[in-house]
């Protein structure tokens, strides 16, 4: 009798367990496609630096409102493998791991950023990227030993396959110059334009930059040098565009780029920050066009340039009266955003935003009639602000709270 009871309860237990397992399987099977669909379709991504030094990537569908805590909703990043110098396209992130000399492609899956493919990229430090086509990525860079030799690679991004690579026929630094920087890349039909300049290391904590902006014109895809254009109205054309944007094409294919001689890039504060133009269908700098930012009402240097459409752009400028030097340039809230009229070649007005911190940040996304601007305020918190391009109205949108110290970048996942 006793034996039979035990036998029956064991049977019940097995039955119960079996049905539990089946229902669990069913549950997890039915959940999986939902999850992955939701992840694939996200529109925006945010790169967060936490107060404790941890870094996160968060993807979201809306920047309009609400509050996000990176420690709860974000994917924590492996600080050794990842940094915020990334290229974002079609829901994927591309990053060069300098130590491993590997360019990897990442996707956010199940709350973690996973590498899905990679390609070795030896002796290469990325200066600027340019999408030659939907799937064809051009990286320009320098050798990592001396930062003297300009190089390039073309990669098929989908399969992460190397298409071509080589050195660029741009003169290496000579005389007193010790290294160089490439600040922008632009392709017009079969002509490739590369903005660059040279640097001189003065001491372990000090350097200077040539007073000249150089633009090399190369034939693409042969990559042979056609000519070099020079301009001394300002120096340090552009900057590393995996960290921040410095150039764009307008609706009519006029190309604009900003020069950045301020202490955070060129360290030639005696020269003005300016906006240059290469007109559509032309192959040289427009010598009659220059917006002198430093002598405008801004009266400071600027870094970062974003196009709003209809000849309007936003720039991010520093406040030299609020920081002491490079040691507090990133931690002090001193950055302002200004509206520029490119057709009139003048600074229109300051946007009514709190002072922002972080030396270089990719912090503007333009979508239809709205510019989302990420601002790290010391007094008003970390918010995505919503700027209505037509009406000029500004309001607070999504808040990044909790462990957030800096919103380091915001990206459109499908630009």
């Amino acid at each position: 009798m006793q034996e039979q009871k035990i036998y029956q309860s064991a049977k019940k237990a097995i039955l119960l367990l079996a049905s539990l397992i089946i229902s669990f399987c069913y549950y997890s099977c039915s959940q999986k496609p939902d999850n992955s669909n939701a992840l694939v379709n996200k529109k925006y991504s945010m790169y967060i630096l936490g107060k404790d030094g941890k870094e996160y990537i968060i993807e979201t569908n809306s920047l309009e409102s609400g509050k996000i805590l990176p420690e709860k909703q974000g994917a924590i990043l492996d600080a050794k493998a990842m940094d915020r110098d990334i290229i974002v396209k079609n829901g994927s992130y591309y990053h060069l791991n300098r130590k491993k000399a590997t360019l990897s492609k990442y996707n956010l899956q199940n709350d973690s950023l996973n590498s899905t493919a990679s390609i070795p990229l030896k002796d290469f430090s990325i200066e600027n990227y340019f999408w030659l086509g939907a799937d064809s990525l051009l990286l320009t860079g320098l050798d990592i030993k001396g930062f003297k030799q300009a190089k390039y690679v073309v990669i098929e991004a989908k399969k992460m396959k190397l298409i071509s690579s080589g050195n660029l026929a741009i003169p290496r630094p000579s005389g007193k110059f010790t290294s160089m920087s490439i600040g922008f890349v632009e392709l017009r039909k079969n002509h490739l334009f590369l903005g660059y300049t040279y640097h001189q290391q003065l001491s372990p904590s000090n350097y200077t930059t040539s007073d000249t902006t150089y633009i090399a014109e190369l034939r693409y895809p042969q990559m042979n040098l056609l000519k070099i254009d020079k301009d001394t109205r300002s120096t340090y054309p552009g900057g590393i565009n995996t960290v921040q944007s410095y150039s764009f094409n307008d609706e009519h294919n006029n190309y604009y780029f900003m020069s950045c001689p301020g202490i955070a890039l060129g360290n030639r504060p005696d020269l003005p920050t300016g906006i240059f133009r290469i007109k559509a269908r032309e192959e040289h700098l427009d010598k009659d066009y220059f917006i002198n930012i430093s002598s405008s009402l801004i009266n400071n240097h600027a870094y970062g340039l974003w196009y709003l459409g209809n000849n309007k752009a936003i720039i991010r400028s520093e406040r030299k009266d609020l920081f002491k030097g490079l040691s507090d340039h990133y931690s002090t809230a001193h950055f302002e955003f200004y509206l520029i009229d490119l057709a009139e070649a003048k600074v229109l007005k300051k946007l009514n935003l709190p002072l922002d911190k972080g030396t270089r940040r990719e912090c503007v996304i333009v979508k239809d009639n709205v510019a989302y601007i990420a601002v790290n305020s010391s007094t008003q918190g970390n918010f995505i602000w919503i700027y209505n391009i037509q009406t000029g109205s500004l309001k607070k949108g999504l808040e990044l709270a909790g462990n957030t110290d800096f919103i380091m970048r915001i990206d459109n996942l499908n630009p």
Binding site: L49, G53, A79, D83, R84, D85, R98, K99, S125, I144, K145, F147, S179, S181, H199, Q201, L202, S203, P204, S205, N206, Y207, T209, G239, I240, V243, I263, A264, L265, N267, G325, L326, S327, H329, Y330, S331, G358, T359, R360
Partner: protein, 213 residues
Amino acid sequence: MNINQELIERYHRDECTKEERTAVEDWLFADDFAEELDLPIGENKAEHKTSIWNEIAPTLPKDRITKNHSFSFWKGAVAASLVFGLLGIGFYQFTLKTKNDSPQFVSVDNTSAINVKHLDANGYNISVGPNTFAKINYTTGTVDLSGSMLISPKKDVELRFKGSNEKISLKMGQTYIILNGKTGEDKIIVVSERNLMDLPPVLQKQITNQFSI
């Protein structure tokens, strides 16, 4: 062939002749250790052993420590210890030479144009960049630096750098990049390693290359 620090440094820079390369490799992978290191008088061998081990232990892959106690691993560890030992002795000999130094001081003069010196000194982990002179006074919290260094304090500290009146707070466990020129005109730069990307790219490149970070 006499295996010395200079030769090992050249070996790592890949500047050795074939003959020298073979000699270094034979020495590194030899089973016997006939050439014992001579420590300066008064130095405790056990203390050096522990401090060297403490310094290299965190940089070794964990699974190799726990799973793989193979002979080759120990050979590598011993070889690494010898390299660190040589560097360590160089450093101690320097400090011993400086008469005014007391246990409250640590000073290091890295004359190598390429290599970084790593120290696990009283309360700080320090990496001193190439062509750098650094002197730290623990009692007063003052630092005299010309060159570049990484410093990671084991507790929250305030340091005052020569040439600057300001006290700079460093948090425990974080690594800071400190740069200073040789002349008074150069401003000292102190930033947390996690904000490396906020430094101008020209300085970033110099630091990442020097310290391999």
